[in-house]
Symmetry: C2
Subunit: 154 residues, 2 copies
């Protein structure tokens, strides 16, 4: 199978993310292991908090977003990892019963100076709920291999 | 039990994180659900990648870091959530068998203009492996309630 390479990620290209339904059980399971704050573990505690209901940990939303990227394009790409995230904003609570979807948009693509044959693609990632409200906005750079032979002329 | 409040987070104060041992089983379990790229699922694929071994997803490291914060100080704090992360850098691979620890350092604390009685505390978070190598560096702001009555004079 031919994988997507650096040259396939032109600025402006969009890749759809999701949909993914967020269940109360999943929210509680993730929080029990990684973020056991009351509003992520219990409906009543969530309603009493500023989040307004049983709400996913921001890290859960981020992990689900990672999976959506994998399923949309990353597993089909000759990707070499990401050194981090430029920023991540959890704009609105993600509540049990919400369905998330969104898009990754290529904002920049450039050759990596320190490694021949690898490009750096910067994405803006938007994740929304079923009402179209932005719940998670982030940006990051991913290392992606160039088409074989491309490094010769780089 | 008296919880930690905004006034307890003076700039310069440090809170220890970890230790947390990262097992191959945990790395594979997280990756299977959230980041099923080969280097996070399989020892051999990890060795063949630039990560050099079965390596935790950056999001797994981030989620473990969240749990370390909860156990160190966050669950003992009257915290009101975090709007996001300013940046997160995965500096080195986290491999199966590594043990993570580190610290959260208060870099800034200020009153929130839009909400009386809430302060914003900015932390720098450092997570290292058992050799003292920085594997994850991040910064974020957390909303923390002020001592009761403090908002009157704010």
């Amino acid at each position: 199978m031919t994988k997507l390479v650096y040259e396939d990620f032109q600025p402006g290209r969009e890749f759809p993310l999701g949909p993914k339904h967020m269940t109360a059980a999943e929210i509680i399971e993730f929080a029990s292991e990684f973020d056991p704050q009351p509003m992520h573990l219990d409906e009543e505690a969530g309603r009493a908090s500023i989040l307004g209901g049983l709400a996913a940990s921001g890290w859960h939303t981020s992990a689900v977003f990672m999976r959506m990227m994998c399923d949309s394009y990353l597993l089909a790409t000759d990707a070499q990892g990401a050194p981090g995230i430029d920023f991540m904003e959890w704009k609105k609570p993600v509540l049990a019963g919400d369905t998330l979807s969104g898009r990754s948009i290529v904002v920049e693509a450039r050759a990596m100076r320190s490694r021949a044959g690898i490009g750096i693609v910067t994405f803006r990632h938007e994740v929304e709920n079923q009402r179209g409200e932005l719940v998670c906005l982030s940006q990051n750079a991913t290392m992606i291999r160039m088409r074989a032979g491309a490094e010769v002329s780089a």
